[in-house]
Homo-oligomer: 920 residues x 2
Amino acid sequence: MKKNIKEQKKVYFFGGKKADGNSKMRNLLGGKGANLAEMVNTGVPVPPGFTITTEVCTLYNQYGKDYAIEAIKNEVKENMKKVEKEMGAGFGEKDNPLLMSVRSGARASMPGMMDTVLNLGLNEQTLQGLAMKTGNEWFVWDSYRRFIHMYGDIVLGLKPESKEDEDPFEVIMEELKEEKSAKTDQDLSTDDLKELVKRFKKAVKDQTGKDFPENPWEQLWGSVMAVFDSWNNPRARYYRKMHNIPDEWGTAINVQAMVFGNMGNTSATGVAFTRDAATGENIFNGEYLINAQGEDVVAGIRTPRQITKEGSVRWAKLAKISEEQRKKEYPSLEEVMPSIYKELFELQKKLDTHYKDMQDLEFTIQEGKLWMLQTRNGKRTGAAMVKIGMDLYKEGLISEQEALLRMEPDKLNELLHPVFDTKELQKAKAIANGLPASPGAATGQIIFFADDAEKIAEEGKKVILVRVETSPEDLNGMDAAEGILTARGGMTSHAAVVARGMGKCCVSGAGAVNINYKKRTMTVNGKEYKEGEFISLNGTTGDVYEGKIKTKDPEMSGDFGELMELAEKHTRMYVRANADNPRDAKVARDFGAKGIGLCRTEHMFFEGKRIIAMREMILANDEEGRRKALKKLLPIQREDFEGVFEAMQDLPVTVRLLDPPLHEFLPHEDKNQKQMADELGVSVDEVKTKVNSLHEMNPMLGHRGCRLGNTYPEISEMQTRAIIEAALNLKKKNIKAIPEIMIPLTGIPEEMKMQEDIVRSTAEKVFEEYNDRVEYLVGTMIEVPRAALVADKIAEHAEFFSFGTNDMTQMTYGYSRDDSGVFLPVYIQKGILKHDPFQILDQEGVGQLVEKAIIDGRKAKKDLKIGICGEHGGEPNSVEFCHRVNMDYVSCSPYRVPIARLAAAQGAVKEKASSKYEIN
Amino acid sequence: MKKNIKEQKKVYFFGGKKADGNSKMRNLLGGKGANLAEMVNTGVPVPPGFTITTEVCTLYNQYGKDYAIEAIKNEVKENMKKVEKEMGAGFGEKDNPLLMSVRSGARASMPGMMDTVLNLGLNEQTLQGLAMKTGNEWFVWDSYRRFIHMYGDIVLGLKPESKEDEDPFEVIMEELKEEKSAKTDQDLSTDDLKELVKRFKKAVKDQTGKDFPENPWEQLWGSVMAVFDSWNNPRARYYRKMHNIPDEWGTAINVQAMVFGNMGNTSATGVAFTRDAATGENIFNGEYLINAQGEDVVAGIRTPRQITKEGSVRWAKLAKISEEQRKKEYPSLEEVMPSIYKELFELQKKLDTHYKDMQDLEFTIQEGKLWMLQTRNGKRTGAAMVKIGMDLYKEGLISEQEALLRMEPDKLNELLHPVFDTKELQKAKAIANGLPASPGAATGQIIFFADDAEKIAEEGKKVILVRVETSPEDLNGMDAAEGILTARGGMTSHAAVVARGMGKCCVSGAGAVNINYKKRTMTVNGKEYKEGEFISLNGTTGDVYEGKIKTKDPEMSGDFGELMELAEKHTRMYVRANADNPRDAKVARDFGAKGIGLCRTEHMFFEGKRIIAMREMILANDEEGRRKALKKLLPIQREDFEGVFEAMQDLPVTVRLLDPPLHEFLPHEDKNQKQMADELGVSVDEVKTKVNSLHEMNPMLGHRGCRLGNTYPEISEMQTRAIIEAALNLKKKNIKAIPEIMIPLTGIPEEMKMQEDIVRSTAEKVFEEYNDRVEYLVGTMIEVPRAALVADKIAEHAEFFSFGTNDMTQMTYGYSRDDSGVFLPVYIQKGILKHDPFQILDQEGVGQLVEKAIIDGRKAKKDLKIGICGEHGGEPNSVEFCHRVNMDYVSCSPYRVPIARLAAAQGAVKEKASSKYEIN
């Protein structure tokens, strides 16, 4: 090995027209090295340089520094000569100095984990030459002091000893600034910087006992070895462990010439996009500055100019600048440097085509020569993502499948919900962060009570409903509000689930928000906000802002429709929606839902008379009393079902029988208990006694789901009757309803059997009464872990399974979703969990149960229909998992239907691809 | 088939010296038929009769009644002749009538599910002959009216139409009794009975249009067909479904001669045991009555006499009856009928040896001839079970293995705990029934508060502590009480777990008990009991009685010790105990525990100063504050561990780190919160705020177990330090401690990894400080379902697994043990569940997870030590399961150690047997 490596090429040149390496040599050259080589080979003018291979890192780790330097010394020198030739400058040459950067670059991206050294080659001599060239002495001294700081820190180890210690260079800098009464670094004069360099060098000498190295080669070797060293620093090690990157891989190192856009008026620097990152339009665009460094473009000190003339003219119009002034003060690159522009334009075209995606380019023009510093796939808005993807497909650059895979399903949210105005958002003050419970952006006045929210919204005002937690009693207020903010509760709390169903922005579990209902204030980090003050919510990120922020309504383009058609073409799994009422059902249908996967019946019991009858039933002491109350509920439920079935006509509707524990329907406050007692004509004591007797230590694991229907079969009977009668009534009107009756929370085959018996015998009774029939299915939720374990036996009594992965996650992890907010964030921060398992389905654990239940269930019943109706049914990673384990459908909240459809199609496309090729 | 069956023998005779069938023909003759044949073949004088095979039942079901009768007619007639010959009487013969019984008898026992008809052959003529023989006209008419009732009901179908309807014969009977002012059936005269028979017959004629059949053969065919019919009655069908008995099996029918012990002074009837059912001594014993029916012996109207002379003399002594009077009024069978006695004595010897177990015999002497009506393995006390089993083994009748298998492990409880005096118990009034939470019997005064219980017990009074639920604050009272009764809580509630640990009688979850702490009363079904009144508890059955009942203290015999030695010899799995203090540890060790499998640390935090420091820690707002409080707890914990380790020296002690949610350590009542605030020098508001912030919706699924240790690593650090320091301190005294540190509630491999790191690094630190080391293990509980699913990965960081099947049952079923008391009884009653899964481990569901975790865990780590520390570790069925899935040990409460040892041995014996022979 030792011998072998000696004979191997260890340094690879890139630059000019041809690189030694290419994009396939990722293992040897690292990701960055391979990309640089590829850019060069594509004909892009990249500042030249060379890559020291990962094998050298291994040598270094095995045999140490001296051995490693010896092994590459000659090759590095040869390559440096090539770089000098390309750049027309010399490394360490006084008048015409070539400066270099040294950067890590492993096989797998490890952003920010290893070290970088810039401006190698600067010393007391060469900085004179650079000052001449740039005509900017301040800049050069500033670069020099930065170089000493960086080198001193990384190579010479003058780092703070611990987090609490101060950086020794910072200490010196602050002292000087105090002496000079300089507020910022920029306030220091060139002379101040010279003084600073002196003090920095003294500190180096004091600490290391040696002078700061002036010899560029010494600087180079030191930097290269320090970067190799950084492969083994604690944060890099930790990152590798987290991402399963083997320690043996090692990093490559890229030593590259530095170029400067601030070398006078034939120099410039800029950033550009091959397509519009906001709209996705196929228009080259970007900004630049003459005689400037990269940072200047984004720093906002000088107003950047537009690259294209068209862009410049449009910009001037928006900024209300006359054409004359524009031409004078803000001319485009196209006008100022037409030939460079032409070269840049061709290049961007080439890169866009080569990478088959919108590119985000960084370039520098140094003394009339264009250099590309970076090209990468550009970040974009959701709308742009769809447009660009579909355009690339139509342009023939990518296939249908590739177009589908290019989309990030979650970004479709931006097309479905309002978003903040980007400019205004930059100025906004974030005051808290919660869970991104339901996407979208909203601005409105803080209101704490649902009824107030409804009233104030009726006056045409915009409202944010702010609650500790929401309950079904808050539905009217949630409906009236622009957005909902809760201090407690997770991704599957009441607020979150209902808001997603409504397509309404919601931030939940914002722990920093302290609400005082009595004073009608909320306090965040010591600052008090009164009812009526404005706040803004970003439900996509979970951010809460002070004051108003302008929002933009979503627009759905034709591209979106075409994308959905593509998804439809490639998907195997179909998508249903979770919806409890005709309105949500219609939304879902418009988004392409193929039915309802979860129609909860409990929400139907809360309004007006219903809750009275419901409470009467709960208060009843015997079956007779319960039946009497249920008789009152029957026509109400039947009507509800008729509405939902009609909205979903010809498509199946899965109705889940009563699930929550009965105490959820009883009032817990004295006032409301009194009211209930009056309404039902019983004593308050009776109400209180019932409330107490129904109290549970762990309601999540209590008397709910089919445990209710099996202790009180008359409830299941009534609900079945309502469902079947509704379907039969619609049939008379020639409307086809396809009910699927779903039993919640089964864990024992006999439990399911008993419920199946009740449903089937009730249905038969109703058929007889109507002298007519409808098709219907009986199935169950699989949510209790035990149900997954005995799925084969449960399948004997079920025509379909629907996975309730919310509850299954709770029970499989032993996490109450109402309480885990205390430790889940800590667990994610400490790296114990990668994600919140309530957001992204835990494939490692919960997934095993899901997969086992599917395999065993289908073994027992070949044509068992299988879906998911937990909140994971709308989360892209989870949807792909559902595809892989062969579910028939996923069901999610209406506004996530398009996202689920896209993710389902991606799952299918990936599966086909992996069956064709071996996937790494 | 139809032809084939015609040629087969369909009726099998038994009686005399030889039966047509034998014990191996169970499928054809049913269980009862095969047993009768075996008895005959063994030489036992059984009243003769014949068995109609199960195949006839199949014929009957397929081709109907007429076909079936035709198919067996001739065979039945031939066999009836044999019976007549044996009995010296004729079927339907006026002066010397032979009466027959018709009973069902399927392959598998289905007790009480099918019908029986007795006294076939009685009619207006034959009853005259019987009256002459018995000299008891009343008895004969009474038998006749019973026969008409039974036959009318079963064969002729004069049944009540539904549960609400009245039995038509009962209605007639009640009318007559009213007319005759007869309070009981016995008050009716012979003439009244004749009138009753008249009216019964009229009812039959009115209802069926036919006369009641006088012809014995018509009676016989009707009865046989009715019994075949009863194979398909709803309760039999339901029973078969529950017990997986195929419908196709069908039942056989046994037609057998009836014998009468009331045919004058040469007739008698009695019951006998081949050994003493109370003590197990090998002494023949029993009771008899001259000229009596079987019921008379047990009915208590006449005082039964002893069978043996020895027994009779002893009995007379106890009853203070002179020898003279005894001889005259209560002579033994041995004295009265010496030759019959001799025959009986030989027979019982033969049967005891043949069945190799203590037999419970029923016999009748009819006119000087002895008939055995039944022999079966006799019921016995726990002490008798041990003595008989060990005696049989020593007598060479059964092997060591067989002796072990003969024991019912749960019955050992009677040897370990007090039991009620049997006689007094019969007179006691049961007022409620709860869960048999901890075995034993107790009598005492009702006391509602722990402190009072302690005081009153100190006065030498016996106390039953009665609480809605118990909490750690009640420990002193529980300790002082004879027994504990709670209105709420299951088999694994605080009361149940602690009581079992103390070996103290406890009935939990007695829902009928309503406690009013203010009034200091408890009300049961409307009756109020004041504090100070006496009640009695049977913790083995869950029964609660009014008043005092004498109890008997347990005695452990030498047989018990020998049995434990046998168990030790044959077991593979060893047994540990769950114990938190030196006292329990000692009890466990004395019972043969091989270490502690679960030492909970949280109970250590409740007393005196400890709870103050604990609360200080909880109240702390940062790590520093927590560390300060933990420092106070360290020496206390260390001392506790030293005590436990010393009691268990040389044996391993598994210490579980802190498990319950922190709010369990905070007071929830205003008064106590005030006290806590004063003690800690903080405001009441601060306490209340902390209590509220720690409140959880579902504490079972909340911030507990290793989630605490991972959010507050300093807690795990302190506990580890206390454990390791304790072990090192003992080492200085030459006492060997073997700590096994157990992490609770892991569900994610990274969780375990993090805790392992904390434990190991802390231990190393302590070793360094002490400049000495001890051996220790780090392992985890497997209780969260997810832990079982990813057990291979968790095993990488664990040296042992201990299954926490309490919590695993909760999460796998989704049942909160605190709340499931509402629906579990309903589920068991409805047959959805066969057992309470908190009592008997659910092998079908939870068992899958356990088995998977063991297999996967050992795949990852071959020598992984595996045990169970859930309450199931002391339940015999569950212990056998643990053996089958290859656990190394089970751990249970100290008083269940012998039971677990026996069950473990049984598991091993059964496994060896099944590896030798094929087991059905």
